[in-house]
């Protein structure tokens, strides 16, 4: 048997699946680190403050923006899937649904970036 060809996958819904899966995996890695960081408060004020000072670096701020985008994309992508499964799937509206999901996620990331500036 031969496997499905990569040329078969060039479709917007497939990209949406990839973003949803990758953002989900990255968020699963991020969350324990996030709780670990918050847990610094248990070791005293200075431990948490030292960590927070470290997060002020530009590269980390940039990754925060990416993180917000991934969070928002995972949320809107999930809402898209729920709407397909519980409201119904209509061929005509699929591209629009994908555009809205991507647009809202990008808007959230932009809003966060502007808030940082």
């Amino acid at each position: 048997m031969i496997r499905t060809d990569w040329r078969n996958r060039g479709h917007s819904a497939y990209w949406a699946f990839l973003i949803h899966r990758i953002s989900g995996l990255l968020l699963a890695f991020f969350l324990p680190l996030h709780f670990l960081a918050l847990g610094q408060a248990l070791s005293g004020e200075s431990a948490l403050d030292a960590f927070l000072a470290w997060t002020e670096r530009p590269l980390l701020k940039l990754s925060e923006i990416v993180l917000v985008f991934l969070l928002a994309a995972h949320l809107t992508g999930g809402l898209r899937l729920l709407s397909i499964e519980f409201v119904g799937w209509h061929r005509e509206s699929q591209k629009a649904l994908l555009a809205v999901a991507g647009g809202v996620a990008a808007f959230c990331a932009l809003l966060y970036a502007l808030n940082l500036a």
């Binding site: 048997m1 060809d5 990569w6 078969n8 479709h11 819904a13 699946f17 119904g88």
Partner: protein, 241 residues
């Protein structure tokens, strides 16, 4: 219109799973289909080339192959549409065991229709009056929208979930189950829903929508699978599953 001396550089899969592509130069012709190309090679170059076809007009569903990476009916695929640079790559359908060259073993594809309980179970006998089903009812319309499948396995060969999870019933079998779930005359709705839920059933679908993109009949197995998920959720809430 192609020039008579124009050649189509064609690579065709030869052998079984461990086979390889072999090159053939085929003269271009007007309105030439991919099936015409395969037939030309078999008749003029190598009679041992194995492939499958019957009707040549998109009714039987037996000539599906992978053409330049995409599963298609070869009889209804014009060379001009898929090979603008005169390069054609023809392979057997993906996700199914290769018998030889371009022929795949369709057994597991059709076995899964049976596993999905794709057979109508009547509630009436021949002595009962004919069931009156309103063609405009939402349930009948939903069933009608999915019923034209001819079992060509293009959706099955395009689905990545089938490749990842060999037990997955696949778009065609689930689409068939959906037409019966929406058929008010059918007597095994609950058993059918039980057969199509879970990891090997509708819940394994990742909504890549490749089945719907590739279906030559323009059906939407994605709609059917989403419908099955919805029907299963409602049945579970009612305690029927």
């Amino acid at each position: 219109m192609p020039r008579p001396e124009q050649l189509l550089h064609t690579r065709v899969w030869r052998g079984g799973t461990d086979g390889q592509f072999q090159s053939y130069d085929v003269p271009r012709q007007e309105s030439q289909t991919v099936l015409d190309v395969v037939t030309w090679i078999q008749r003029r170059v190598d009679p041992s080339l194995a492939y499958r076809f019957a009707c040549r007009v998109g009714m039987c569903g037996s000539c599906a192959m992978t053409v330049n990476g995409l599963p298609r009916w070869t009889c209804r695929t014009h060379v001009a549409r898929v090979a603008p640079d005169d390069r054609l790559e023809i392979a057997p359908l993906a996700n199914l065991p290769i018998v030889r060259d371009l022929v795949v073993d369709m057994r597991e594809f059709f076995d899964k229709w049976r596993e999905a309980k794709g057979q109508f179970v009547p509630t009436a006998t021949r002595h009962d009056p004919i069931a009156r089903v309103c063609p405009d009812s939402p349930a009948r319309r939903a069933a009608d929208a999915a019923i034209q499948c001819i079992g060509c396995a293009v959706c099955y060969a395009s689905c990545d979930v089938v490749a990842w999870n060999p037990k997955y019933l696949g778009p065609a079998a689930l689409n068939r189950a959906w037409t019966l779930v929406r058929d008010e005359r059918d007597g095994e709705r609950r058993q059918r829903l039980s057969a199509v839920v879970g990891d090997a059933g509708c819940h394994a679908c990742h909504t890549h929508t490749l089945c719907t993109e590739r279906c030559p009949m323009h059906l939407s197995p994605t709609t059917s699978i989403a419908g099955l998920k919805r029907a299963a959720a409602i049945a579970a809430l009612r305690g029927e599953l």
